[in-house]
């Protein structure tokens, strides 16, 4: 258990990928297979079945620590994390139980689920009494299901692959699907590489460079050498159809399994030995693309219900063909690949896999005008691709350009502040901003990021000395500070008092030169809304 606790704290203490990788490798190199299996499970985001409700946990912890429940809640506000609050609060014993991670999980945590309340309470008190703070914190994280330590499944895969000298895509394949965290399973991860190509193996993605909005497009050369498509705001994917199976990889090179059933179904119609590159988007049946906010309702859902699938259907807009009839065609020029792609998809009418249309133009100027309408299409701008370029690896210069529209910006007034959680507990870092509606300030966006550490300290001090009212953790402050906010999208929302919702709001800068009167109005924001869509 101590090794795993040390690993957790090592991962927690750094933001550097290399240091995380080293810590993971060191752990996997030395851990027993049974423990390493559980570690892999938790680090990849696996959770234990909920065994005790948060309410009971709070109650029992307060009892054990001999403090009233409200004081536990008060402490929770200061700490910002329930597992941490409880581990700090309860009284521990001097000795540490010597069990390994797998023994802890299998003999002490999992059995809590089926226990009668009084026994579970005893089990928990026993855990608290036989742990020191570091281990107790990790165990409470596992019990509350909030175990997160800033590593992705992909990073764990990389570490395992590197440590056991296995190709990363082979390791990713082995970690696919449902598996039981057993010693046998972990040993099977380590076995020497098998023969034969892996059907799931993706190609490296070709990534685009951003074209600076202020640069004249003429410097790219002749516009006939380029093709243009919408740049969508969805999930970039590689869809693989091989050996009668379908695999969908995200750009983070994460295998997304069972999350997009309609795409998987449509892909089953593709001939074997096909690999597509495209953007996964929420779209109506008539083909109209929905906003990212809609797609977000499905992101992060490991299982999708019927209702959600009906409300937010998704499509894959394919824009490149990398493999055809089992042959890697990435070396062909874009024009040839495009032709093949069009031919292939023309055989799949009414499918959830469609082709991303081209935007024809006779001059750069035409594209400049078309790009301005991106927002009304729920697109982020245009993609410009050289017609004669092959599909390159990584981020080559000069063949693919993303040409985004500028973000919206407004000046808004800070009216509420709340303490941050986790990394920023104890400082007022979460702000709500408002704009004017006649002589009233209407809140319309929350933003956390964008200020420097020094500015955060200054705002924190301002909040503390200009609090007018306190609502639980939220403080209303004298409306004095003006900040410039940028956001990527804006839409109508009946859930918000202001009637609008913004996408990715963030602080661009603190406008110390502006007074609250100078902030924008709700009218200004409404003017940015896309034209009302018929329901």
């Amino acid at each position: 258990m101590q090794d795993f606790v040390r690993l957790f704290h090592a991962l927690d203490a750094t933001t550097k990928t290399n240091e995380k990788l080293t810590a993971l490798r060191r752990y996997f190199a030395n851990a027993e297979a049974a423990d390493a299996a559980w570690a892999t499970y938790f680090l990849c985001g696996g959770k234990l079945k909920r065994m005790i409700s948060g309410k009971l946990l709070r109650q029992w912890a307060a009892e054990q620590a001999d403090v009233p429940l409200w004081l536990l809640e008060e402490s929770y506000h200061a700490v910002g994390d329930l597992a941490e609050t409880i581990s700090l609060l309860v009284i521990g014993g001097a000795d540490e139980a010597p069990q390994s991670l797998s023994e802890w999980v299998e003999h002490r945590l999992l059995p809590l689920a089926g226990m009668e309340e009084s026994l579970a309470r005893e089990g928990l008190r026993d855990i608290w009494w036989h742990t020191r703070i570091d281990a107790r914190f990790v165990l409470m994280k596992l019990i509350t299901g909030a175990f997160r330590v800033g590593v992705s499944k992909r990073l764990v895969t990389r570490a395992l692959a590197a440590e056991f000298r296995i190709a990363p895509e082979v390791m990713a394949h082995r970690l696919m699907g449902q598996w039981q965290p057993t010693a046998e399973f972990f040993k099977s991860l380590k076995r020497a590489e098998q023969d034969g190509p892996l059907p799931s193996k993706p190609y490296p993605f070709c990534l685009a460079h951003a074209w600076p909005a202020s640069d004249p497009l003429e410097s790219l050369g002749n516009c006939e050498e380029f093709a243009a498509e919408w740049k969508w705001d969805g999930i970039r994917c590689q869809l693989i159809r091989r050996d009668g199976q379908v695999f969908i990889w995200s750009r983070g090179e994460e295998l997304m399994e069972g999350r997009w059933p309609e795409i998987e179904q449509a892909a089953a119609e593709l001939p074997d030995g096909t690999v597509l590159d495209g953007e996964l988007l929420a779209a109506r049946s008539d083909g109209r693309i929905l906003s990212f906010a809609e797609l977000q309702r499905r992101i992060g859902r490991k299982r999708v219900g019927k209702k959600l699938m009906q409300d937010v259907p998704v499509i894959l807009l394919a824009f490149d063909l990398l493999e055809q009839a089992g042959t890697d065609i990435r070396a062909l020029p874009w024009t040839a690949r495009r032709q093949q792609l069009e031919l292939l998809l023309s055989k799949l009418p009414d499918s959830a896999i469609r082709i991303n249309g081209l935007i024809e133009a006779k001059s750069w100027q035409e594209w400049v005008a078309i790009r301005e309408s991106s927002r009304s299409m729920h697109a982020e701008g245009l993609m410009l691709k050289r017609r004669d370029a092959c599909y390159e690896v990584g981020r080559p210069r000069g063949t693919w350009w993303k040409w985004k529209v500028d973000p919206y910006t407004v000046d808004a007034v800070l009216i509420y502040a709340q303490k941050g959680h986790g990394r920023r507990a104890n400082l007022f870092t979460d702000y709500t901003f408002a704009v004017w509606n006649d002589d009233q300030l209407v809140p319309f966006a929350k933003a956390y990021s964008g200020l420097s550490d020094v500015e955060i300290q200054q705002v924190d001090r301002f909040v503390r000395s200009h609090t007018n009212e306190t609502f639980g953790p939220v403080r209303s402050v004298t409306p004095k500070l003006v900040m410039e906010l940028a956001f990527e999208g804006i839409q109508r929302s009946s859930r918000h008092k202001s009637g609008i919702a913004t996408r990715f709001p963030r602080i661009v800068r603190w406008r110390q030169d502006k007074q609250p009167e100078d902030a924008n109005s709700l009218e200004d924001l409404q003017a940015l809304l896309p034209p009302e869509a018929p329901a």
Binding site: L71, E74, S75, V79, G422, N426, L427, D453
Partner: protein, 337 residues
Amino acid sequence: MVDNLLQLTPRGLYCELGGFYVDPYEPVERAIVTHAHSDHARPGCRKYLAALPSQHLLRLRLTEEAEFTFVDYGQSLDVGGVKVSFHPAGHILGSAQVRLEYRGRVEVVSGDYKLESDLTCKAWEPVVCHRLISECTFGLPVFRWPDSAVIAGEINQWWRAAAEEGKCCLLYGYAVGKSQRLLSLLDVSIGPIYTHGAVEKACQAYRVSGVSLPDTEYVGAVERRDTWAGALVLAVPSAHGTSWTRRFGNCTTAMASGWMMIRGTRRRRSMDRGFVISDHVDWPSLLRAITASRAESIWLMHGYTVAVARYLRELGKDALALGQRTFDGSEDAEYLT
């Protein structure tokens, strides 16, 4: 018997009978000062009264022409008919609890204090009173300090490991008090110790006051140094991430503060390590101190005042959270000065 010797006014705790303030927020005619931290010892007053061992530290902070009076711990002085005496608070060198007595009524202002041992200042002593006015910067039950000897071991181990890797250690803590306490815990056999200017000044004031500290060298006085590998530098937290730290080359950073108990603050500081070491009372010591004072009324200042007052009231005590100005328990305000 009079009910109240002290009352809270916009300028701070005021004793009308004696005509003086204790740790006023603004310049006043006559100030009694519990200790030399900037949120307690404000410049601009005409007369200051403080405990004798805080003399050199206070002079460092309050250089202007004012009238200073210092009395030793335990001795009393008559101020406008009120008997005033100072008692060790264990917070930093010269820190005191201020005891006021008038016709049998006794009130004590704790200032900042801690019950743990600290080689650089006199240990806290309980003072029996009718009313205790206590700080509660860390007045929540999640704050329970680990044994400082254990933390000292961790700091030295961190330093030793860094020295072996050829790194320099940057240890951040408040310039007055915290840095000297850290100094007293360091294992000087590991390597040389350097100081940031503000820390060095405070160290000198400690030495002049008769506190023996390990040798330190002011970073700014170092002519040339090819490598800082193996050295430990004591600096103020505001220096973190500034160009001042660049000279040390390959280094590892750590912060020493009670707030390091919380993962969020630890991570936000973006330092390699966080050591839980505080000069304030934690939850159990706060409760112990309140019991030891035998006070029938407790007023709370600085920190989680509302929570502590409510907790004490539920235990049947007479407790009140005093309103306060800008400081609400964030030691940040203090250690960033």
